[in-house]
């Protein structure tokens, strides 16, 4: 076949093929994910009830955020979520180390420890709200033994409610981190462990200098999923307290939903403004993740 008779499509097949393969996925993703992000930016500049005419208000929604006490509380709660959620990472590592043995039935133990992650957050939320029931809940009973009495129960008290929910969230998150570390521990180079042992490294020193550096990929993913998970928290709050008591457990994702879609009024513009703020907080982390992946990618090409 001479070059002249070769069809245009055939000559360009190395460009056309990936394009065709990408098209359906990209179309879906653009319509439902990429474009809506920009639409939300736009909507945040309007006052809109979702049905009628939208009125352009410029930056007024954002100005309102600055003085909105509920927004401030939500933002602070997000910080609490983020910081406390990170505890799931060392907790997961700890359990992984505890379970990284080969004794009879250990496989089943590992699976059962992982259990909380497979259950939906809705069920986790229900389970924990019964666990926290004032007077009759197991948690309250055990606290009673130590003479601790939380007025109104964990979830009924504005000072403890958020922490109660975060604890419920840390439970499945720890299970996730545990499985990441178990998989990572499995791939730890036995020769390096051997060498470390010969050098007299034991316990914490071995963990810190020999094991943890080899667990870096697992740690990285644990950070990614934990940070995203913390900022995405919605289900547990909605199920356990619905933002209460007195709005003390709201986070940005929940407050946004409340403003835009619940009985607190259909303020799509204001809700979108909250979402934009949350988006930029996330973007900071997403940018960091992508940058790390880009670095690895470049190294892999070399």
């Amino acid at each position: 076949m001479s070059a002249a008779t070769q069809s245009w499509a055939n000559r360009n097949r190395m460009t056309l093929t990936p394009l065709l393969f990408l098209a359906p996925g990209m179309l879906f993703f653009a319509v439902y994910v990429i474009i809506p992000i920009f639409q939300s930016f736009n909507i945040s500049l309007y006052e809109w009830d979702g049905l009628g005419e939208a009125t352009f208000v410029g930056a007024r929604n954002y100005q309102e955020l600055v003085t909105d006490r509920a927004f401030e509380i939500s933002l602070w709660n997000n910080v609490k979520w983020l910081l406390l959620y990170l505890l799931a990472i060392p907790a997961g590592l700890f359990i992984a180390l505890f379970l990284n043995q080969t004794v009879f039935g250990i496989r089943l133990y590992k699976s059962l420890f992982f259990f909380p992650f497979v259950i939906s957050q809705v069920v986790v939320g229900l389970v924990f709200s019964w666990f926290y029931l004032p007077n009759v809940g197991l948690f309250d009973i055990v606290m009673g033994w130590f003479g601790v009495d939380i007025r109104g129960g964990v979830l009924g008290n504005p000072n403890t409610a958020t922490y109660g929910i975060i604890a419920a969230g840390i439970w499945p998150q720890t299970a996730y981190c545990m499985i990441l570390y178990l998989t990572g521990l499995n791939a730890v180079d036995p020769e390096q462990v051997e060498a470390g042992r010969l050098d007299g490294a034991k316990g914490w020193r071995m963990l810190w200098h020999v094991i943890l550096p080899q667990l870096r990929p697992a740690t990285f993913i644990a950070f990614v999923v934990t940070i995203i998970g913390a900022l995405r928290s919605f289900d547990l709050i909605s199920i356990m307290t619905n933002g209460g008591p007195f709005g003390s457990t709201r986070v940005l994702s929940f407050y946004m939903f409340e403003k835009a879609l619940s009985e607190y009024g259909f303020r799509m513009g204001y809700g979108s403004a909250i979402a934009v703020v949350l988006f930029f907080i996330m973007l900071f982390f997403i940018a960091y993740f992508l940058w790390s992946m880009y670095r690895d990618e470049k190294e892999a090409r070399r």
């Binding site: 080969t102 259950i119 389970v127 197991l138 909605s238």
Partner: protein, 291 residues
């Protein structure tokens, strides 16, 4: 990336190499720690087998006065909307899994095999999109679904889920394909095999483990989704079980035995999936990065 638990020279030191006392302590500690870890869940299981009388008498934690497993679960299945919600969940989850896996096999192939301008950019766009907060999509996606006449339908949820999960699935598939031996594809090209045939006959068969891993993982993600179910559906016609359970609970307010049984039923399918496909599930969770 087949996974075997345990290795030759392990950290921490294998318990077998430690004193007899340490071994016994460890074996005894395992079940105790497990029970403490699963305590909230065990409590709910116990709740779900009690008669209503136990709760009215304040017997929350003692020995059940009678064993009502069949009565309680029977009520959940025959006297509530629970079976409908479960069915909805299934009808939403399975097509989403098929759709997202199919789309990402193709995007993963395009991004993993071909070198072209913007390859990495498109790949990163998928990853970034997968991490954004749902709330930034909520208003426009809801609006789009309403104007397409798909609000409160299962199809409306399925379409969105497919689109959103494609981000994560592409990340996974592309990395998996990158790790395949590239010589296979080059050899096929030298033979003059058409590109789409390479996809179908060479790459796709090798992607089976990745497909299995993604399928179980997406099944769990979608089954457990609550936010989008609340945003895009409202009645028992389309609501999946995660959203339906709140109406179920208002039907049986304060009847902890039934609410517990309902929760357990709602949670069971992903649990069963996990136990059947454990190996694939774990391979998927590590995003293909930890081997």
């Amino acid at each position: 990336m087949p996974l075997s638990w345990g290795g030759a020279e392990m950290f921490p030191t294998p318990i077998q190499k430690q004193s007899r006392g340490a071994q016994v302590t460890y074996q005894a500690l395992l079940p105790v720690v497990l029970i403490m870890w699963l305590l909230p869940l065990l409590a709910v299981m116990l709740f779900s087998m009690r008669p209503l009388a136990d709760f009215t008498n304040g017997n929350y934690w003692g020995v059940p006065s009678s064993f009502e497993f069949f009565t309680n679960y029977g009520k959940v299945f025959f006297e509530s909307d629970m079976p409908r919600y479960l069915w909805n969940s299934l009808v939403i989850t399975v097509p989403t899994v098929i759709g997202a896996v199919a789309l990402s096999c193709m995007t993963g192939f395009a991004l993993g095999i071909y070198r072209f301008k913007g390859n990495l950019l498109i790949f990163f766009m998928f990853i970034a999109g997968n991490f954004v907060p749902f709330q930034i999509l909520m208003v426009p996606v809801r609006d789009l679904t309403v104007s397409a006449g798909l609000y409160d339908t299962k199809l409306g949820l399925v379409l969105f889920h497919i689109a959103f999960q494609t981000g994560f699935c592409t990340l996974f598939m592309r990395n998996f394909i990158r790790a395949l031996p590239f010589e296979l594809i080059e050899a096929a090209r030298v033979e003059g095999v058409a590109e789409w045939r390479i996809f179908w006959y060479v790459v796709l068969p090798l992607m089976r483990p990745a497909i299995a891993a993604l399928a179980v993982l997406i099944f769990t993600f979608i089954w457990n989704d609550y936010f989008w179910a609340v945003v895009l559906t409202q009645g028992p016609d389309a609501q999946p079980v995660t959203a339906g359970i709140t109406s179920f609970n208002s039907q049986f307010v304060a009847q902890y035995h039934l609410m517990s049984a309902g929760s357990i039923v709602a949670a069971l399918p992903p649990v069963a999936m996990f136990f059947m496909m454990q190996r694939h599930f774990i391979a998927g969770l590590t995003l293909g990065a930890v081997k």
